[in-house]
Amino acid sequence: MRFSSIKRHTALTTAAVMLSLAGSAVHAETPSWCGPKKATIAFLDGFGGNSWRLITTASAKEEAQKCPSITDYQYADGQGNTQKAISDIKSMAAKGTDALVVFGDAGPAVLPALTSVFKAGKVVVPYRVEVGGEAGKNYTQFIGASFKNDGVNWGNWIKSILPNGGNLLFLSGPAGNSQGKDELEGLKSVLGPEYKFINPAPFDVTNWDPALTQQVLTAEIAKNPKIDVIVSDFGPSLVGALPLFKKSGRSIPALATSDGNILGCFWTENNKDNPDFKLFTVATGNDNARLAVQWAVAKATGGETPKEEIFKAPNFENSVSGKPHPVECRKDLPGDIYLSAEMSPEDQTKAINK
């Protein structure tokens, strides 16, 4: 290659880069949490193997890209393996990444790694799963999710449709999971004794497994002739189980849960034949990651930190009032996307089809 040709190429490339930079600068106004200092960021997932996580990861990346000061974005998947999650945290820091957003699925087990990285001067933002420790000592900031808030929202809706009390069935994930406990606390803070929980305390264990959910619901339907509301923190896993009501010759009852395209479409197809089937959802919470990224970027680039430290999932669908949204269904897109998320449904489809 001749020198002049190299020069020409370089000039062209530079021009292209300049143009695209100028273009993006015109399109996106820099958010307040994005400071002037250049920094690199890494998103460390404890377990990346489901569509919810893929969309969450893609959302985090989309959020980080809003800030032009972020020069590099890295991702690592702990694959549900605590040791790998810990080594991911350490190796990202060793590579010189400035800010780490950590989905600490392993809980306090990752705290020592977070602490050592934080002490080495990195910005460390664990989120959604409690890892113990405290902000400023073990990590920069913890961005929690308020599951209690979800319980309160469900409880308020239940009160609005059943003012005189009724029978509630509450389903959550593995035995003793803290998310289910927090949600129950929220529910109970709103609902009085006239609302009776007919499941074994604190909740029916489903492991968030659709097959087990189906078996559990089968037993509950047969045992309880009157179920007024089902509360579940993983709505989409109920879709295979709800037709069981039809088998028993009953209407599907009201459902307070989290959103998912498959669930919205199921409601759209079945609400006419099931007069009692009202639906209320809170956002599944993919955007929790966005708040965590905002914090990490703000701290690393010298931007303004967001006001919220806890992500409160907003209400999403309400089939009774249509507020904030009526039930949504995108039949043309996969069932495994979340219309409540900020990311566009089409981009979500791309994220899970990767």
């Binding site: 569509s51 097959a211 078996q215 619901l217 037993a219 047969a222 896993s237 028993s248 495994d336 899970i352």
Partner: protein, 323 residues
């Protein structure tokens, strides 16, 4: 010479075939299950109501099919720990490959069957010909199959196609279609095992491989085929499971490993190999399934549910030990 040997082997075991329905194993599992039904009637009548049975029998059907696969392997003195992988692979292939389009279901099913046959042959060659320990070989194979599961799905669940949901999850005369699949498979396995030459040889080899070899039976081939049959059955179970649960996870087979061995043991098949008891295995699968419905219907806490199931299983096994 070889054909004479085969005949001798078949004749030697032919007599037992006519007593199958009245074996002690069959009676034991039948009595235990009847006792459970009485208990259900007394303490948790809702667990044997029509709605419950309609909802839970499809899962019993899955367990029957998986249990029969495991039984065939156990009959050859082996163990197949690649159940979880086999079932999960069929689930993800039948949901991810068509990606919601029912027109692509048939190619996906054929692909799943081919993969199952491939995994079975590999298992079989490793155990039957290379003489690896069955537990080691099938654990390795399970990891390999899970590699396939991740390659196909990336670990992500997918919604079932409408066609598969209608075939596997649908009803005929008020009973889930998967139950008919299980009954048909049970009939085929029983008839082939008990009434055909191939089946008789298969049992003879399981009971005493050395004697079988001495009379000229192709021991290694039959041992290998046990793993192939097993994988094909896991594949069918996986396809049905994908249809029954509308959004199956990529790890749907995981919870089937232990029950698959439990039903074989409860059904009376010796872990050292030999005769198989398909009908007893099927009843044992119904028993295990009904037991969890009983525990759920009684409404005890989750911890107690697990304990009840473990106790019943221990009791079931003890019955065989003390007879």
């Amino acid at each position: 010479m070889k054909s004479t040997g085969d005949q001798m082997g078949a004749e030697a075991f032919a007599q037992q075939g006519f007593h199958i329905p009245l074996t002690r194993e069959f009676l034991t599992v039948l009595l235990t299950t009847s006792a459970l039904i009485v208990l259900c009637r007394l303490f948790a009548p809702s667990s044997i109501a029509y709605g419950t049975l309609a909802g839970s029998l499809p899962f019993a059907a899955i367990l029957i099919i998986v249990g029969l696969g495991q039984m065939l392997v156990v009959q050859q003195g082996g163990f197949d720990l690649s159940v979880a992988g086999g079932v999960s692979l069929a689930v993800v292939i039948s949901t991810h490959v068509p990606a919601g389009d029912s027109a692509n279901l048939l190619p996906a099913v054929l692909l799943a069957v081919c993969c199952a046959a491939g995994a079975g042959i590999l298992n079989g060659v490793l155990v039957g010909f290379v003489r690896l320990n069955a537990i080691v070989a099938t654990i390795g194979m399970n990891a390999l199959i899970y590699g396939g599961v991740f390659a196909v799905s990336g670990g992500i669940p997918r919604t079932t196609t409408a066609l598969l949901a209608a075939i596997a999850g649908g009803d005929t005369w008020g009973i889930g279609n998967s139950v008919y699949f299980a009954i048909a498979i049970l009939l085929v396995v029983t008839l082939v095992l008990k009434k055909t030459v191939v089946g008789r040889r298969f049992e003879a080899i399981g009971a005493n491989p050395r004697a079988a070899r001495a009379v000229g039976l192709r021991v290694r081939l039959h041992q290998m085929m046990a793993y192939v049959y097993a994988q094909l059955l896991y594949c069918i179970a996986g396809l049905l499971l994908a249809g029954i649960t509308s959004q199956p996870t990529a790890f749907q087979g995981d919870s089937l490993l232990l029950p698959s061995v439990a039903v074989v043991v409860l059904g009376g098949t010796s872990l050292t190999g030999g005769r198989g008891f398909p009908v007893s295995t099927a009843i044992a699968a119904f028993f295990l399934n009904q037991l969890s419905q009983f525990a759920l219907a009684v409404g005890v806490p989750y911890s107690a549910q697990t304990i009840i199931q473990a106790l019943a299983l221990g009791f079931g096994i003890a019955v065989y030990s003390f007879r």
